[in-house]
């Protein structure tokens, strides 16, 4: 499997991914989730979640469908608020403040905690307007500054070279993989602290997937990343730590290398080795 990926990578002209560096436990926390419970109406979707997310690391969340991993990541930027009938208890401390407090404005939170979605969702506007959307809603009008932000964000999402000559073209005319990188550029343009990615490669072909994975590795130096993935190999390739969710609970949370080679819980082992899920 690994060999096959390496071959695909060579054919796509991509350089080999550097392994995640040795993890330093001293990294400060970005998010600290404490005894988080969440209900959709009567359905208890998240049960007593305790989960730290560290700065400048990629934290992968794996688990079978319906285990609550998407719900969890959407709680981190309070996108769950958009769904009616959601109740929560417990707390999620972000930079010293509980984001579940009534007083914490979701707009402020989402400005600091950006998101990339499962299906590429560019606006039916030009590439430029897509990337400039975030800065514009936050009140930036200066054409010169917007130009700078757009270029920096597109470079940051490794797509500048492909689109620099057609910034006025409709973003929906790009390929799926390019669209997803535009969406990543769009998230970067707001200059967030954390980027949440909800299965960002599940709608992409293998080569686009590798490009996005490589990008995630590069983004780790400047951002903290939480990525939900269905693909265990992906979690193994790109994340420093992994949390395994099952039926709304965190079964295991550890350094990715350790979890994949030597899981403590039998259920984690079963899932990772492909016995269910």
């Amino acid at each position: 499997m690994v060999q096959m990926i390496e071959r695909t990578r060579e054919r796509a002209g991509l350089k080999a991914i550097s392994r995640p560096p040795e993890l330093a436990d001293a990294r400060p926390l970005v998010f600290d989730t404490k005894r988080l419970n969440l209900w959709y109406g009567n359905h208890h979707a998240l049960k007593n979640i305790d989960l730290p997310i560290r700065e400048n690391e990629v934290t992968a969340i794996i688990g079978p469908s319906g285990c609550g991993k998407s719900t969890y990541i959407k709680t981190l930027n309070r996108m769950v608020d958009l769904i009616g009938g959601v109740r929560t208890s417990g707390e999620i401390i972000y930079r010293g403040r509980n984001i579940l407090d009534r007083g914490f404005s979701p707009e402020e939170l989402r400005t600091r905690v950006g998101m990339v979605f499962q299906k590429p969702n560019p606006f039916p506007k030009s590439i430029y307007d897509n990337v400039a959307y975030g800065p514009r809603i936050h009140g930036i009008r200066s054409k010169k500054l917007l130009d700078e932000i757009v270029e920096k964000s597109l470079r940051g999402a490794a797509i500048w070279e492909e689109v620099k000559d057609r910034l006025k073209a409709n973003a929906c005319s790009l390929s799926g993989g390019q669209q997803q990188r535009i969406c990543i550029a769009r998230a970067l343009a707001v200059e967030p602290d954390v980027i949440l990615m909800d299965e960002p490669t599940s709608a992409l072909d293998p080569i686009s997937t590798l490009r996005v994975e490589e990008l995630v590795q590069e983004l780790r130096d400047d951002y903290s990343i939480v990525i939900v993935t269905h693909n265990m190999q992906q979690a193994g390739r790109i994340s420093g730590r992994t949390a395994f969710f099952l039926n709304g609970e965190v079964i295991e949370y550890d350094e990715t290398g350790k979890m994949f080679s030597n899981p403590e819980d039998k259920r984690t082992e079963d899932y990772i080795s492909g016995r269910f899920g």
Binding site: N121, I137, C183
Partner: protein
């Protein structure tokens, strides 16, 4: 290893019986084809007769003088100047009032209102209002605008009544257009810290505008042809001046046509036909605009 079960050796469908029924099935196919063709032809024929009658009677009267003259007792001097101007004034009231109220209501119902029983009930009843006969709206206008607000049979009273009449259609069309904007795009906008209002203005409305415009134009074209509410409001037909403002009395194209058509003299029938041609051209122009807008913005997502 086989996954499917082994097929029986003898087929379960008897090929001869199938062959025998083939003829009857094909005959039924032809019969229905003919039936549908006939209904289409019937409709086209009715339309053709209507057009022929109106064009043959009315075209001769469609002179520049017809547009310059006011209504008159003598058919050769009768014109639609007051009626055409009145209809345009009416539209000038109906278009902004109904679109602002309609789109505003649709945005509230789709984007802000919580999904609960009460709101479902409100939504359902707005759709039901679209089916209420126009004469009933005329009575409502008479009670509220003409009498209670003392607007009489002015352009404003008629315009507000017509706005109420087409409001449900505009609301429903706008709701559908807003609902058609993918959820993903709203999430993308919220995900960058946009407020609800910013998301509506920058993402939802631009996506929904073609649908909203198409629905609104079709609704307006209904308002321009409505007669019943104007009759109930007591809008006059013989008017020898042009309105100077929305509080003046006026007359409108369908009222004028209705008045001419019910007169005994044959010459007035021809004048009525000329009026109908003008009204039809207005309607056709509005409907074509709606179709053009719809085609221009199709398949945006």
């Amino acid at each position: 290893m086989r996954i499917t079960e082994r097929q029986p050796v003898r087929p379960l469908m008897d090929p001869e019986a199938v062959e025998g029924r083939m003829k009857a099935r094909k005959a039924a196919d032809r019969l229905f084809r003919m039936l549908f063709l006939t209904s289409t032809l019937l409709v086209l024929m009715v339309l053709g007769v209507l057009f022929y009658r109106i064009l043959s009677q009315g075209l001769g009267n469609l002179t520049p003088a017809f547009f310059e003259n006011f209504a008159s007792r003598m058919p050769e001097k009768a014109g639609i100047r007051a009626a055409l101007t009145g209809s345009l004034w009416l539209m000038a009231v109906v278009a902004p009032v109904s679109m602002i109220l309609g789109v505003g209501t649709a945005v509230y119902l789709e984007e802000y209102a919580k999904k609960n029983r009460l709101n479902d009930w409100v939504r359902m009843n707005i759709s039901n209002l679209a089916g209420v006969p126009s004469v009933v709206f005329g009575l409502l206008g008479l009670t509220v605008f003409a009498r209670a607000l003392a607007l009489g049979n002015s352009i404003l009273a008629a315009g507000l009544t017509m706005s109420l009449l087409i409001l449900p259609v505009i609301i429903v069309a706008s709701q559908e257009a807003i609902r058609a904007v993918p959820r993903d795009l709203r999430e993308a906008s919220f995900g960058m810290g946009a407020t609800k209002w910013q998301t509506i203005v920058r993402v939802v409305l631009p996506g929904a505008v073609p649908g909203i415009l198409t629905g609104s134009i079709l609704a307006l074209s209904r308002a321009i042809g409505e007669t019943a509410p104007l009759i109930v409001l007591g809008v006059p037909v013989i008017i020898q001046f042009l309105p100077a403002g929305v509080l003046d009395t006026f007359t409108a194209l369908p009222m004028q046509i209705y008045d001419w058509a019910k007169r005994p003299q044959a010459a007035f029938q021809e004048v009525a036909s000329a009026g109908i041609i003008v009204l039809l051209i207005l309607l056709l122009a509005m409907n074509s605009a709606a179709v053009l807008i719809r085609n221009k913005f199709r398949n945006r997502y």
